[in-house]
């Protein structure tokens, strides 16, 4: 009874507090208390979304990301430090451990302060490269805000993020311009399934160091090569987002009015509030989190056919451990997606499919799973197929790794046996075998006739002789 009340209470608490699929504890690393008020709209937004925010300075001696070897927080937000580094509690190693244990990090950079080498070292581990020049800034002489940066051109105005692949789900689209003041450009390394650029610079942008005099030479990166917001999703689905401009989160830019250069351009409001909200929601596991519910597979032939639509479930054999080759098999998997507040049925983006592999070392089947039914929480994806003509230990394997979605990797191992000796069709069922069946019986009939003839045609004389002789001898 007590346990039940306790469970109810924790359930209610979970319902009330966390809007993240993972946890609500967020730690914000900022150096000076005075900085805090700059982001007040963002903090109140986060608190409204149910996060319990702890503000810590990197200099705090009792700051620790881990408690008893486990992450003490679910999420970490690092604002650009004024000092040269992040201190002994936030070394790249510890931050990588933090991510490896499943926690998420949102890292904000700013070109106003030189980027600490600890941070560029950390990003180097994720294959994100920052300019070697620690003070460099991204400028664009065609997409800047004429109101605030008429001279320096270092406040970039960007349209909503777009992805080249149409089947990539876009969690970050906003319908207004996004202002990225004093951004640090990043360059993503080798094409990696873990890394994705959320917001690219326009093709006319480039990085440069405002403190350097004279001609511009050896530009670190130009054009859309520069990523202003990068997203890294580790193999354990923990998320690490690099926001090139910390100022974009400030109240000042949340609904500032900006104006693009060029005649006829009007002053308009920025979409920063919505973009930062979506970016933080994605980073802190409020968006794009997939969950696999019930997985069922069963023999789809004979008495078991169509078992999913039947009510006499207790008579059916669901999830058997053994099948036979060439069996018809039904497989279904429930997938839900966390969307801000609740689990909703997951539907694959248009042009994309959830796939089932039936594999032993290599897949023997790779099939598209079709959505068959959906309740309020999850979509059921099903596939029906005939097992291959190969016995062994097989896996029903669903693997779904897409940018901005958490990874789905579900394996169910079954044995596939060969035909038992009494499961083959009898030869009299196969009309092709009639001549050979006839051959046997003709042989036997011929043999019987031969034996009869042999016995009938026994030479009488020698027999009598034999008898007589043997009688005579004895």
């Amino acid at each position: 009874m007590q346990l039940r009340i306790l469970g109810l209470l924790t359930g209610l608490l979970g319902l009330v507090s966390a809007l993240s699929a993972q946890g609500s504890k967020l730690v914000v690393i900022l150096e000076e208390e005075s900085e805090k008020s700059k982001y007040s709209q963002f903090w109140s937004d986060l608190q409204d979304r149910g996060f319990q925010i702890t503000y810590r300075s990197p200099k705090d001696t009792d700051l620790s990301l881990f408690l008893h070897g486990e992450p003490a927080y679910s999420h970490l937000l690092i604002l650009p430090p004024k000092s040269k580094g992040l201190g002994p509690q936030l070394t790249p190693n510890l931050l990588v451990d933090f991510v490896n244990q499943g926690s998420n990090i949102l890292l904000a950079l700013s070109s106003e302060q030189p980027v600490p080498s600890a941070i560029s070292g950390l990003l180097q581990e994720l294959d994100i490269t920052l300019p070697a020049d620690r003070n460099s800034v991204v400028v664009d002489h065609f997409n800047y805000d004429t109101k605030s940066a008429d001279e320096k051109h270092d406040v970039l105005l960007l349209p909503s993020p777009k992805f080249s692949k149409s089947e990539t789900k876009n969690f970050f689209s906003v319908d207004k311009l996004i202002a990225m003041p004093h951004a640090v450009g990043q360059v993503l390394g080798n094409p990696s399934p873990l890394l994705a650029s959320v917001l690219n610079a326009p093709s006319t942008a480039y990085t440069y160091n405002p403190k350097e005099e004279g001609e511009l030479e050896d530009v670190f990166a130009t054009g859309s090569q520069i990523s202003l917001v990068s997203a890294f999703q580790a193999r354990n689905s923990a998320r690490f987002t690099v926001l090139g401009s910390a100022e974009a989160m400030e109240d000042k830019w949340f609904d500032a009015s900006v104006q693009s250069p060029g005649a006829g351009k009007k002053s308009e409001k920025t979409g920063n509030k919505e973009f930062i909200r979506k970016l933080s929601a994605w980073t802190f596991m409020e968006l794009g989190v997939l969950r696999v519910g019930e997985i069922r597979h069963y023999l789809n032939e004979g008495a078991q056919k169509g078992a999913s639509n039947r009510t006499d479930v207790e008579k059916l054999d669901i999830d058997p451990t053994i099948y036979r080759i060439k069996n018809d098999v039904h497989y279904s998997v429930e997938v839900s997606e966390w969307s801000n507040t609740a689990w909703i049925p997951f539907t694959t983006p248009a042009g994309d499919d959830l796939q089932l592999e039936f594999s032993m070392l290599s897949p023997f089947h790779r099939l598209n799973l079709k959505p068959s039914s959906s309740n309020g929480v999850s979509t059921t994806y099903t596939a029906e197929f005939k097992l291959p003509d190969q016995h062994g230990i097989f896996n029903f394997f669903v693997e779904y790794r897409r940018p901005f979605y958490t990874n789905v990797e579900e394996k169910r191992t079954v044995t596939v046996r060969h035909f038992a000796h009494d499961e083959w069709p009898r030869s009299f069922v196969i009309s092709g075998a009639y001549p050979w069946i006839g051959g046997i019986w003709v042989t036997i009939a011929g043999w019987v006739a031969f034996v009869a003839l042999w016995l009938y045609s026994a030479p009488s004389q020698p027999k009598r002789d034999l008898k007589a002789s043997s009688a005579g001898k004895r």
Binding site: S427, A433, W436, I440, G446, W447, S457, P459, L466, S470
Partner: protein
């Protein structure tokens, strides 16, 4: 001593044991064999030779050996038909082909063994085995073969 020898001794002199097994052809044996051999020497006609061989076979072979030969020809025909069918129509129920074909082959081998053991000309080699014993073995072996084939064809 084997019973074969004992049976032959009282009727005829022990020099000629070969002719004792079958009484009927022994009389007519001498006449056609000489005529056919002479015709082979005189005319080189292949047809003549074949006819001669055939006549010789008809005249000189004991009744039971003829019966054995007829049965073996029959088995060969049945086996050949099954093999031709396999070549033309494919070997899909392969066990059916194997058992059907091997039934004829096995029966052929068993029959050939019976022929060896009961042929009067091989008397010297099988003198310890009576015809009745050989035939009983043959029946026993054949029944095992049939059992296996019918079982294997499923």
């Amino acid at each position: 001593m084997a019973p074969k020898n004992r049976q032959s001794t009282p009727q005829q002199p022990p020099k000629l044991p070969t002719t004792t097994a079958s009484q009927t052809p022994s009389k007519s044996q001498s006449k056609p064999s000489t005529s056919s051999s002479s015709s082979v020497r005189n005319t080189q006609d292949a047809r003549q030779i074949a006819i001669g061989v055939w006549n010789n076979y008809i005249d000189a072979t004991p009744q039971r050996v003829k019966l054995l030969d007829a049965f073996m020809v029959f088995l060969m025909a049945v086996g050949l038909l099954q093999f031709v069918y396999c070549v033309i129509a494919g070997n899909y129920p392969f066990n059916a082909f194997l058992s059907g074909f091997s039934a004829t082959v096995g029966q052929f081998v068993l029959t050939a063994s019976l022929r060896m053991q009961t042929n009067a000309e091989n008397k010297a080699e099988f003198e310890r085995i009576s015809h009745e014993r050989a035939f009983a073995d043959y029946v026993f072996g054949s029944m095992i073969l049939h059992f296996f084939c019918v079982n294997f064809i499923n």
